[in-house]
Every structure is written in structure tokens, then in C-alpha cells.
Symmetry: D2
Subunit: 383 residues, 4 copies
């Protein structure tokens, strides 16, 4: 069987999740090629060597430019912060490597466009690329997409999506890099709102075409990390990204979709919720209960209609055949194994996997349109 | 004990609910005065006589002008369509009658203003008025307000409210009076969005100050009633009100509140949902599960935090002392008994009950601001 | 329209609920005869006169024997404690009155047998009788029965029922009459276990034929009421009934049904739960969420199977046509209106309503069998 | 760091789960020693070699006797069917190997006793043993135990446990080895009832002392596998184990615990439910929603009491520090990593991990007592 040697650039939290995917997928699924965890790349030699050891990469390295051009590398997996995605991805693609890039595709539309163009050129040579909106691969989310695609919802008429967390509820929570524009590019909007947009587009098969929206920074100054929860004279810094974004989009079909991304939803830890309402049925998904999909079938007898709580753990559900018997749950990280399965299958078959860099670019354009709308007194702007 | 003679103007669906309240409240609560169901008024003599018989009113009549000035009447309860509220209410107030007026207070800000001014003048003479936002009196909603008032949520930082139904999902559902501007004034926005606004203002104790929003009419033509689901050449009429409204408000404190009112939320029958997130806790209310309030307490030990499903049926909960033992549920119509209890108590004690006509007017102003924003490319407008 | 004059014997908590039913049913349903709240009977003249006034009975009286033979009385409604049911019911039946008797039918099998025999004789003369297992008339429970009857569950293979409360969790909760055999006859078993048995028999259409069981009294001494939560030297009395009962029954079809009745289920207030599992489907009912029925349809496509949360508020659901629009909930007391509707309809049409005294007797026999089994080292005993 | 070489005997479904645990634990937790997946043992050379390749074992072998005495092996992990556990485990212990043995400990009390005795002797030499009741290591279950241990429930007064599946609902489902006594030893009782017993004993810290119970075989003949769902003249075989078991146990403290294990609970896929009710609080656990623990705190203010839905994904929850951020769910297989963590830690520190073989033996004794009770007309029997 063909071996596919992987180089992973970056080794933060997402590195752990991606490593789990690379390590586990070949143990669970019958893959058409064998991924091999070849090299992990980071700037600090000791730390990256420790990560290699911890997560099971054969080698570590410090210079990504060198690694992405190595002859023996087949796949480059990018899990660095968003501001370095474009440079690494384009270099890798130009070196003929297949690229998996963590979301968001980039921090700006310009960078994302550049990447999508590079991906388009590479595709002509059979070099594939994919952006890591892993939540698409939660089986319940994929199954929701399947239900829409097979017509079980009929024409989609209304969409309601939100991604809510609560780690900024405390106004004394410290200022970290995610709250600084120069590092993160965007706040709640780009970090979690992006997932909500991708899920809606993925499940409905429609693009968000126009938006009107609001972004806000509820707490504008926060203590610098060392000083968090310290004495009153602690030093503070400015929060330079949004911490709440609320917007409404118009889909291809004309239906409205409401979106909310916030870090002030007390008690909501990782609550990506999507409700799609159609003429024949509806689905409700909640990432905090990710093995479940609620499905409403308007074609059932009237007195038997209701939301059905489908436990998405049957062998006939997406990705489930490789895992455990019915009723045995999956967790957060399983999506990363599914991502590996789909990427490796795509490479082996030459069939480009979704989401493409073009898909990632469209999400970026929606984010950008929301910011432009917010800056123009919430006017409707095209994506 | 003082008797308070009631005249009810109107006898549609809300007449049944109000009658149930007038009939039941004195059997359940120790009221300081005894309401008496004296006369019910409608235009068609036979129909209103039958309603009197059915619901237990002593008399029926056809001329509301005559009735509201009768010496023996103490309270006028208005359950007619919104476009007649102003005229009846002002006449009744000027005749010195206490007035309970079903929501929305009126179909326009001008009318609502007129009513609120009349109510203000009458209050000086001890004549009370109240608008029928009954959902405030669902015990779980009142208890939510109490939790906010006693500081259990801390500073409110984020609000998410929606009222979703699905009776227009079928694009062949017939055109009824609620879909025609001349009768209904407004569509989903005014009919159900108004409840969402009132609940948020009631529970948080804050006003919506500014809004940006969208209103839409997804299906613009529907079959005329006789023709609904008939052959293809059936006659159709125009829908002249919105059937979806999505808007964002800024509260007194600066927090953002998102709102959605729609009749395309497949599977949602009467889903008024309100989530209030504060620095110390959060509450979630759902009218389709109205005996329950979910409460998140951020001051609990970290590993014991979660949303607590409070069954609001304990004697210590609002309005519960008059009803059944713990765990015995209440239904939709109980709010109407609570409304009677509070109005009668207000009259007996001279303490004006909430919500006042001024409260109703403010809701009307928010609705109007949403429509103005929608007409101005979603611009932020003051209330 | 025929008038049916009602005499209610007793005026405790159940008197309030029954009064609500008599008062409300004719306002909501199109009844074929008009019940009239004629007289309420109790031993203490002042208290019963006050109850008459409070609940809307035309008259009060103190001698039930006299009342049940009055010519003008058509229906006798018995809401006294169980030890007086037999005497009153038999006297009323023999006087030719239709009888509604609160559950349990009696405190002993002997009394219940006597009553069922009297009811049988009276039926021949068109005098009807009915026992007040009102929970059958919660729409979701009636609908569950309908689903079984129409074959939606197929052959029933397993049943799981429980009724759990928590008002004895505190071992210092006082000794009340429900804990004394001479008054209550039985404890958790007879008071709440009886409901679980009736619901299972009603929904499945099968009898419990044999049982094996355990009854227990977890806390054997409790403070006398005055002394509850008082100083350590307070007086205590013996609990002479069970406070927990766990038993297993064999149904007609051979399927097993597990039962549990307890007052130590911390946090469960009025949790009557019934799960019926069949070859084609299953239903789950919970009295603490009584507007909902969960239905599992094994004949649905495999990947769409799950428990459907049916909000039992559609016009096509049992009893709903008289009430509110979809999504508007009912409460505990609505079952009492449904009971009045069915009894009055039965009297008007001559069609005996369920549950009959024979049904009530069978429940009593199951309770008796559980006690006999418990006394015989949990041996299986016939009902 | 010390390396611990593992030999796994068996390679069925549980082999996949254990392999996932051995492979993943060292990548996630800071273990005090390094487990190494040395050799996997099975009877069919090709199949076991393929399993080795698939799951990542360095070597495969066919003779377990040889392997368990190899000098280089430190840990023997037994995932074969129950009837071979005793022989392998005792041989491994006598060879000085630490042993992890999948549940149930054995098919008979005699074998389990023999194993527990061997484990006791080995413990004196520092050789550890552990039985694989992995569900204890679902974080929510461990946290439930912690809540009981820290007194949050007070004195436990009532327990309700069940394990329900539905794979025998169809009476034409084929006869497999789990339905034949010679292979499986027991049916629903031993396979899934054992988990319910272990969970109750683990969480409460009490033993089941006496039981009364029923076991049943609802469908006594089933088609032989090849013939399942074939023509009417297909061959059938006898089901020789129970498919339903319902029993009641008395705990150390005198409290009653009800148990149910069934394969006819339509719609329940893997529903291990445990509810523990105490004087100060209660917990509810459901394996089909395993990231959640419901906790009722009777010491909270009365009007704020309710079941709190705790999402057990905080760093302060058991085992969570190694995984993902709050709100990121775990799945079924994570318990196997936790098992590895605890066993490896136990070996490194010399502190015996739970559950011991003695714990496994006690579960076996309870199962045996249930069968004896069922055979004696449900009489109470000591464990």
C-alpha cells in the first residue's frame, strides 16, 4: 500500500488533535493509503522535540521552509496561527505537496484569495488541498447535510445558527493573544462565528450572499495575564478584537439565516448550534451533544410529528462503520480521524475532498462582509 | 367584600382565555375583591349571546360605547383586534373604568401614545390600566425576573430571545386576516416579536434603546381561504405583513440582545425562548416547557456548575401557593388567572399593576423602530 | 339540554381539583348534558360552607346519607379518604345515582369487591360508575393508549413503570395521616403505585396477572407533626405503612413489567414514568412533563430512528380540540375536566365510561398481591 | 522511564477498544511508566497478524501460555470470552505478570473465586490485577462517586439502575453465541446487568448484600444465523440464557436498589442508567449521554433546587486535564485510556488500582444470587 508521509507545521492545541487523527484513522478505517507521521515542525527545538515524542512523530524540525520542500514529504498539515497560513500553504502547494490547513483559512480575504488561487493551480496537477472545518465531520453534522441533500427537509426556509462560549464572562479574565488583533485577526466572529457560517453553508449546500451585522467589544480593557485577578493597581491592556458578533445573512435561495457568536453566554462552553427549517422538515444540531441529531419530519402523520432525537451511532450513519456498536458515543476528536480518512481517500482516488480552499475563502469573505456591515451602520453588504 | 363588575369587549380566542381567568382566579386565590363576570360585548347578537352562555357571563350586549359608560361596570377588559384598542380603552378610562387591554397595546405608536397619555391622566384619579402581556405571569418567567432582581445573574451581558412558530411553513397555507396589514397592523414582528421584547424588558428590568433589523415576507402570495389547497387556478391574495423579523437591540446597560420572530420554524409551535446571560449566572426559559426554568449559577463550585432544571411548582415560587402540590404542572391559561389576581389586587390596594400602558407603548416603539431600521437598510435607529 | 345535578362528598385537595373539573368542562367542551354543581358535603358545617362558596357549589350539607338519596341529585362524586368509599358509593348506587369515586377504589380488596358488585348490579339499570384514575386522561397518556391500540408498538414485550416522589427524604419529616395504616390503608404502594399499575393496564390493554415484590419502611419512626424539626426530645410515632415498594408483574401476554413506588427519590416531585416497549415501537411518558409523549418508531428508516418528542397539543390529539392552539400547554387539572366530559357523555349516551369499578378492583387486587408476595419472601403470587 | 511491555490475549471487539487505550493513554497523560504494545495473541495466525498490523502491536503470537511466561512481558491484558479468563489470568499471575482482565471476571463464582485468590497471593509480591469495568472511568461516573464520597448526597436511601438495549426486540433476530449458555455463561444478566451492579457498588461504596429477582427468556427459539429472516422452514435453535433480568438488592446500609437488564427496550441502544438518591442530594447518570452528570442539591435554596446538568468536561473533573478544553466531549473509548492510566500508575507506585479481582468476584456473586433467587420463586438470597 502507498505510504503518505506527513509533515505537521505547528504544535499547539490543534497539533494534539491533528496528531490524534493521524495516529488513529489508519487503526479504525480501511484507508486506501497509509499516512505516516513523519515530521513535526516548530520554532523552539526542545519543545517541538518533546511534542514529537509525546504525540508520536518520527522526527522534529524547526524550519518549515526546508521541510515543505523535502522530497519524501507528501502531505503538509498546517496548525499554526492564522497569520502564517498563507505563506506556508502556498509554499507547500508550489512544492507539490497536498495541504491540509487548519481554519480559518487565513486572517484576511487577500491572503485567503491568494491561497485559493494557488490551490486552484495545484489542483490541475493533482495536488489537493483542504481546510480544517472539522465539525463538518461530526457524524451528526454530516448526516444533517445528507438529510438536506436527500430532500428530507424540502426547501430550506429559515436558518438559525450560533456559537456560544462563556470564557470572557468574567470581566477580569486576562488579556490573551486571542483578544489582540495583530495575532488573532478577529475575535469571536472569526474564531467561532466562522464555524457557524461553514456549518450552515455545508449543511444547506447554499452560500451566504449578503449580510447585515453588528460586532461589539463588551469589555474593552482586561488585565495583562500576570496581573489577572491581582491587586487593583494591576496593569491592563486593550482588547482589540470583537467579543460578540450578531449578524443576519441572505442565502442563495433568499432565505434568512441568523448568526450569533459570543463569549458571554454564561454556561455555554462550546455550544455550536444550528437549526435548519424546511418545508418538509427541520434539523437541530448542538456540538455540546454531538452524538445526537434532532430531526422533525413534517410528512409524518400529524399526531406523531415531533423532533426525533436520533442517536447518530448506527452503522448506517456517516463514519460510524469504523467505530463501536450502536449507542457507544464518539467525542470531539473523532472528527480529526474522519478528516484524515477523507483526505487520504481523496489523495488516493484523485477526488478532491471538501471543504476546499475556495470554501474556506468564501467563509472569509462572509466574515469580512460582517465587519464591513458593522462599520457602515449595519448596512447590508454583498459577500 | 367589594364586588368588581367586569365588561369584556370582544369574544374571539382571547375571550375564551380571559373568561377562564375571570372564572377561575377567585376560586384559587384569596382576592381582596370579588370580580363578577357581568357583560360580554360583541357585534353579532346571537354569537355574543352564545359566548356569554358558554363562558359564563351574566349578560351580553352589542354596543361597547354604551357598556363602557354603564354605572355598574368597574372594569373593562378589551380583547378585540388591535385596531380598536385605542378608541375603546380611552373611552373606558374617560368613563372612569379600570382597563385591561390585550396586547399589542395598539397597532401604531400614535394610538399607543394616546392610550398611555389617557392612562396617565386616569391614574391620577385612581383609575388603573394594564396591558395583557400574560406570559410575564407564567411562574417561571416571573421567577426569572425575581432571580435577576435579587442579583443571581449579576450584571446582564448578553440576551438571546426568539418566538418561533411554524404555521406558515406550507407555502399553500391560506391567507388569513393576520397576514393583512389593514387588520393585523404587523405580522410575526408585532404578534409574537412583541412578546419576546416584553419578556426581555420584564426579566432584565431594562429597556431596548436602539435597534437594527430586518423584516421579510418569504411567501408573498397565498391562496384565498376558500381556495387553499384547491386546484391550480385558485385565486390568490397578497401577504401585506412580514412573516419573519430578525433584529438586534441595545439595552440600557449597553448589552446586546438578539431577537427573532418567525412563522417558518418547522416543528416549533409556540416557542418563545429567552436566554439571559449575566456575570454571575444565566437563565433559559421556553414557553413550550413552561413549568421549567433553567438556571446556571456561576458562583457554584466549578465542578458542580451546570444548568439546573428548576421545576417551578414549589409553594415558594410565584403564584404557586394557590395551585397544586409540587410537581403538578400548570398550563397556558393559568397566566390569565394570575393576571386577574394582580389586577384585582391592584385595584383593591391602589397599587398600579404592571405592565402599564407606558410599558405597552415602549414595546410598540421598539416594533416601530425595527420597521424603520428595516426600511433604512438595517441602520441603527433609536426607539 | 338535560341538567345533571352533582353532589360532591368530601372537600380536601381532591375536592378543589374535582370542582375545577365540574366548573370548567362545560365551558370548554360541547357536552351532551349540563352538569350543575348542586351540593358539597362535609362534616364541619362552617368549613364545608366556606368550600362551597370558594369553589362555586350552590349549597353545602353535612349528612352524606341524606344527600345521596335526594331526588334532585343525579351524580355523586366521592372525594373522601379511601376508608369511606365503599359505604358511600354503594349507598349512592343503590339510590340510583351515577357515581364517580376517587382512587383508590377502596382500602381493601373486600370493600372494592363489594363496590364492583354493586356497580355491576346498577349498570343493568343504566346507573353508571367510574373510578377517578385521572392520569389516564392526560392527553399524552390517552394518546399512548391509542398508539398501542392502533398497533404502532406491535406486540408489547417489556414495561417499566415508576412513580417517584421525595417528600419523605428528610428523616425528620413529620408523621402525617398518609403514614398511618388505619387512615391510609397503604403507603407509597397504594397511593402512587396504584397509579402506575392503572396506567400500565390502561395503555397496554393488559392485566397484571402475577407479581413478586418487596415493600419497605425505610424510616420507621417520625416526629409527631407539632414536634417536627423540634428539639431532640420530641415525641415520635411509628410509620405503619410502606414508604417504598418495588415489584415485578407478569402481564397477560407473558411480558414482564417492573414497578417502583417511592418517596425517597430525591428531586422527583411527581414523577409517574411509564415506558412501554414493543416489537414495532416504544413510548415513554413522564407526568412531570405531561404535555409530551416520546414515541420510538422501529419501522422508520434505520438512520432516522430515535425517540420523537411529540408535543401533545395538536387538535388531532385526545381532548385537545376544546382547548388552545398547538404549542399551548395543559396542566395537571385538565384531566379533571376530561373526566367530567367523559362521565357526562357516558351518562347521556348510556355508554359506560372507563375506568370501571371492576378496573379499580383489579388495581386493588394487584396491590394486595404485592403485599402478600412481600410477606412471603417475595414469592410469585397470583392477582 | 521504565517501559512496561504488554501482551494482549484476544482480538475481538474489546481488543480494538483496549488497543485504542494502550495506544492513546501515553499520548495524552503524563504516565510514570511507558506501556509498549508488544504482542497480541490469538488462535488463528493470519487473523491475529492482521490485527497486530491494524492496531499497532509489534508482534503477534498464537500460544498464550508461552507468551504469558515470556521474561520480557510485564502486563497481560485478557480480552477473550469469559470462559477462558480464569485459566489465563491465574497462569499470568503465577508467572509474575500484572493482569488486566476484561469483565465479567469469569463465567462462574468458582472460577472467579479461584482468580481472586490468585490475585490475593500475587499482591503480596507486588503483582497487581484489575478487572475491566471500564464504565467506572467515564469521567461523569467517577465524578458521581466523588460526589457521594464527599458527602454531597448524604446518606444514600434509594438506588435505581438499569442497563437496557434493544437488539433482541425482533423475535427473528438470529441466535448468536451470546445467547448460548455454553459460550456466554449468562445473558442480559451477566453481560450488561454486571455493569449496573458494578456501577452501583462503585458509586455508592456499598455492597449488594441480598437479592430477590426474576430472569426470563422471552423468545426461546431463534433462527440459526444463516437462516435469519429467511423462509419459514428455516432451522431454529434454543436460546439458553436469559434475555431479561429484573432484581432488587439490599445494600449495606439497608437501602433498596432496583436493577433491570434487558434486550427488549425498544430504542435503547446502550442505556446504562444509574440514579442514586440520598438525604442531601441525588445523581443521575446515563451512558448514552456520557459527558453529562445530573446532580440534585437538596441543600440549595428551595426555589432554586432542580437537577443540574453538569457537562463533565472541566479541567477539575476526573481525567479531564489530559484532554480537550471545556465543552469538548469524550466518547466511549476514552475509558480505556483512563484504565491504562490507572493501571500503569498503580504499577509504578505499587498502589493497587480498582476494581480488584475481589470486586469482580463480588459482582459475580450478586449475579449468581440473582439466578438462585429466580430459581427459588424469587426468594431473597444472600450474596
Amino acid at each position: 500500500m502507498t505510504t503518505l508521509k506527513v509533515a505537521m507545521i505547528g504544535y499547539g492545541f490543534m497539533g494534539a488533535a491533528h496528531s490524534q487523527g493521524w495516529r488513529t484513522a489508519p487503526r479504525v478505517f480501511d484507508l486506501p493509503a497509509a499516512p505516516e507521521m513523519a515530521v513535526i515542525v516548530g520554532r523552539r527545538p526542545d519543545a517541538v522535540a518533546e511534542a514529537a515524542q509525546r504525540w508520536g512523530w518520527a522526527e522534529s524540525a524547526t524550519d518549515w521552509r526546508e521541510v515543505v520542500t523535502r522530497d519524501d514529504i507528501d502531505i503538509v498539515d498546517i496548525v499554526t496561527p492564522g497569520n502564517s497560513h498563507a505563506e506556508i500553504a502556498v509554499a507547500a502547494l508550489e512544492a507539490g505537496k497536498h495541504v491540509l490547513c487548519e481554519k480559518p483559512l487565513a486572517n484576511t480575504v487577500a491572503e485567503a484569495t491568494h491561497m485559493a488561487e494557488a490551490a486552484g493551480r495545484s489542483a490541475a496537477n493533482g495536488t489537493l488541498s483542504m481546510v480544517g472545518f472539522t465539525y463538518r465531520r461530526v457524524p451528526a453534522a454530516t448526516f444533517a447535510r445528507d438529510l438536506v441533500a436527500r430532500g428530507a427537509l424540502g426547501r430550506v426556509q429559515q436558518v438559525r445558527a450560533s456559537y456560544r462560549q462563556d470564557w470572557l464572562v468574567d470581566s477580569e479574565a486576562p488579556l490573551n493573544w486571542r483578544l489582540q488583533k495583530e495575532h488573532a485577526g478577529s475575535g469571536a466572529l472569526g474564531d467561532i462565528g466562522a464555524h457557524a457560517i461553514d456549518m450552515v453553508q455545508f449543511i444547506t449546500g447554499q452560500w451566504v450572499q449578503r449580510v447585515t451585522g453588528v460586532v461589539d467589544t463588551l469589555v474593552e480593557e482586561r488585565p495583562l495575564p500576570a496581573a489577572a485577578h491581582g491587586p487593583a493597581d494591576t496593569q491592563r491592556g486593550r482588547v482589540t478584537v470583537d467579543d460578540v458578533a450578531i449578524f443576519t445573512g441572505r442565502l442563495d435561495s433568499g432565505a434568512l439565516a441568523s448568526f450569533e457568536a459570543t463569549r458571554y453566554a454564561t454556561g455555554r462552553k462550546n455550544a455550536l448550534n444550528v437549526e435548519i427549517s424546511g418545508e418538509r422538515g427541520a434539523i437541530v444540531f448542538d456540538l455540546e451533544d454531538l452524538n445526537t441529531l434532532w430531526f422533525y419530519d413534517r410528512t409524518a402523520p400529524e399526531d406523531q410529528q415531533g423532533f426525533t432525537r436520533i442517536l447518530v451511532t448506527e452503522p448506517s450513519h456517516p463514519y460510524l462503520s469504523g467505530w463501536w456498536p450502536p449507542g457507544h458515543l464518539l467525542g470531539y476528536e473523532h472528527g480529526f480521524s474522519h478528516q484524515v480518512k477523507d483526505l487520504v481517500t481523496g489523495i488516493a482516488t484523485g477526488e478532491p475532498p471538501h471543504p476546499s480552499f475556495a470554501d474556506g475563502l468564501h467563509v472569509q469573505r462572509v466574515l469580512d462582509a460582517v465587519e464591513r456591515s458593522a462599520a457602515q451602520d449595519a448596512a447590508w453588504v454583498g459577500v
